[in-house]
């Protein structure tokens, strides 16, 4: 495996290497042949010392508390916003360029918020803050589809309801959903299992993700508005959402109603969406066909179906979006940022 220690490639560190996003990032590094000179796996003291195999080599997970980022070219952070708030400034001070998966720096004006298929031009130079932020998992697939619609028809507003999977809360979310589902199947009156989620997600829906803000929206819902505006560079874009956790293991879905300034032609819309990079439109040839979290197919694509224009309002249309939240919504987007930086010679 010659690519493992490419002397021209960056030295990388993964913080949160044992979590669901970190683990997937390692898989994607292998799958996509992302080159590196050396690789450091970093995590909290709880996971430090664990051995993790990557491309046939074994790496010992290092403790974040004592980790020195000097000599690291790029550090991926996916260990939660609190960890990033504390350790990203240290990594930057020690010279690393940080690709941060958390919400900690997304709205910082000196930090670009990037979806490579949408605003890769922001990666042309090293950012002032030393940080590139990876957007929220539900925001990424949405903006990838909003961008061509905005350019073609202009968006008056987007009204989006999400159907978000347990994996958005990490391995503990997945395990809790499974354990809760077993408990409820064994006893229909069981309250399931709580901890990561409350109430239990088993056979239930939780219409609140992340903390509640003063205006009654959740932080998750606010992120979708603010981040969409920043990524698309449309400071007045009107995106309003309800974010709901559903008893699905992996892949977020969204029912998106988009109202444009001009009437939309369905055939043209479907063709436009299908032309986007790494997007599969399920009803391109069979109107009404749809992706689902478990059956959508290629986890590295954004999947779209049920594209339809309202008869009573030809400026409005619906689409049903499914995207692997761990890949598209986190690890893959982060790696694609690194790939774009490498192509541009910034890394």
């Amino acid at each position: 495996m010659p690519r493992v220690t490419d002397p021209a490639a960056p030295r990388i560190a993964l913080v949160g290497a044992t979590g669901v996003v970190g683990t997937t990032l390692l898989q994607l590094i292998e799958e996509r042949g992302f080159r590196y000179r050396d690789l450091h796996l970093v995590a909290s003291a709880r996971s430090a010392g664990r051995e993790v195999a990557v491309e046939g080599r074994s790496y010992q997970v290092q403790d974040l508390d004592g980790f020195d980022f000097s000599g690291i070219d790029v550090a991926f952070f996916s260990a939660g916003a609190r960890v990033s708030t504390t350790f990203v400034p240290k990594a930057v001070a020690q010279g690393a360029l940080v690709i941060d998966n958390t919400s900690a720096f997304r709205m910082d004006p000196d930090t670009p918020l990037v979806v490579p298929q949408v605003n890769a031009h922001e990666l042309d130079t090293r950012p002032a803050s030393g940080i590139i932020a990876n957007p929220n998992c539900s925001t990424i697939p949405l903006v990838r589809l909003l961008k061509p619609v905005q350019e073609r028809w202009g968006i008056r507003q987007a009204v989006v309801s999400t159907y978000q999977a347990a994996s958005g809360a990490g391995y503990s979310g997945i395990e809790e959903l499974r354990a809760g589902a077993r408990a409820v199947l064994d006893d229909p009156d069981s309250t399931g299992v709580t901890g990561t989620f409350s109430p239990s997600l088993a056979f239930d829906l939780i219409p609140r993700i992340d903390r509640l803000l003063e205006d009654g929206f959740t932080f998750e819902e606010q992120k979708m508005l603010q981040e969409s505006r920043k990524i698309l560079a449309l400071p007045h874009l009107d995106v309003t959402t309800t974010c709901v956790r559903v008893p699905v293991v992996n892949s977020h879905s969204e029912a998106a109603w988009i109202e444009c300034h001009n009437p939309v032609d369905r055939t043209e819309l479907v063709q436009l969406l299908a032309q986007q990079q790494e997007v599969t439109v399920h009803d391109l040839t069979t109107p009404g066909a749809f992706p689902t979290p478990r059956t959508a197919g290629d986890p590295n694509h954004v999947h779209v179906g049920r594209v339809r224009v309202a008869a009573h309002n030809p400026r409005g249309f619906w689409m049903w979006i499914v995207a692997d939240n761990v890949r598209i919504g986190a690890a893959l987007n982060a790696l694609q940022i690194a790939e774009a930086l490498t192509e541009r010679g910034v890394l």
Copy 2:
């Protein structure tokens, strides 16, 4: 139990008596002390002959094919649209007033479509067709909340995404969800169990309910538009929906974005919703509190939470609605129609 054979009360027949709606209707008749002179349980040949206990008496289920509706005052139909299409005209011809739970006659101009909390005045006289239609399960809770909003602020449009439970597809839907979930828990790569749903609903979402129409909407989505207009007597009301089946056993949920003609005050809105008959607003005192299908509480109430007005658009607000689709969305509404008819002396 003196009420069982009240000589002043109607003679009733339940068609589809062994299904999930029929069974719940029998429970509600007991719970609410609905009076009847005599009771006939009717079903397809497959269920005929079964013994069902109601208020301590045993009834033998009769075969619909040979059933004579002469002498029946009111017949409840909840055995699917095909059965209603064939047998409701026969029941009407034999003199019964029919309360039909299916979509078969809802849009018939001679048939009132009634949610007693909204348009009970349509029950003042016996309808020309001899039929009163019970609306779609997702439409009922929605229109109960839209009515006061329309009267106070005027509705420009409602954009609704549904999260509909397996019980909307009857006992077979519930059993299939449970069996599929067991299969997937035992083997995460299992495709689950299909038949009622396709793909399997276990840990998945199915963004298509009922058949697909030419315009790309499903019949379920069309029902929510057309029925809302008819019930509210607002022929131009703009309601657009995406209807999604979710892996929940019972109770439908809806994320509803309502845009009004005038700015909405959250405090006044919450108070207005809380004043509605049999509605519980979960965030009346704790903003952000929410109902869920498994934890909402009183199954005979419509539950609302997450009521919030958008800062960037004070004419628009969201609400999260949970209602027992078998009770609120079918059996209870049907029985409340019968109760209203009795109060008015029409029955």
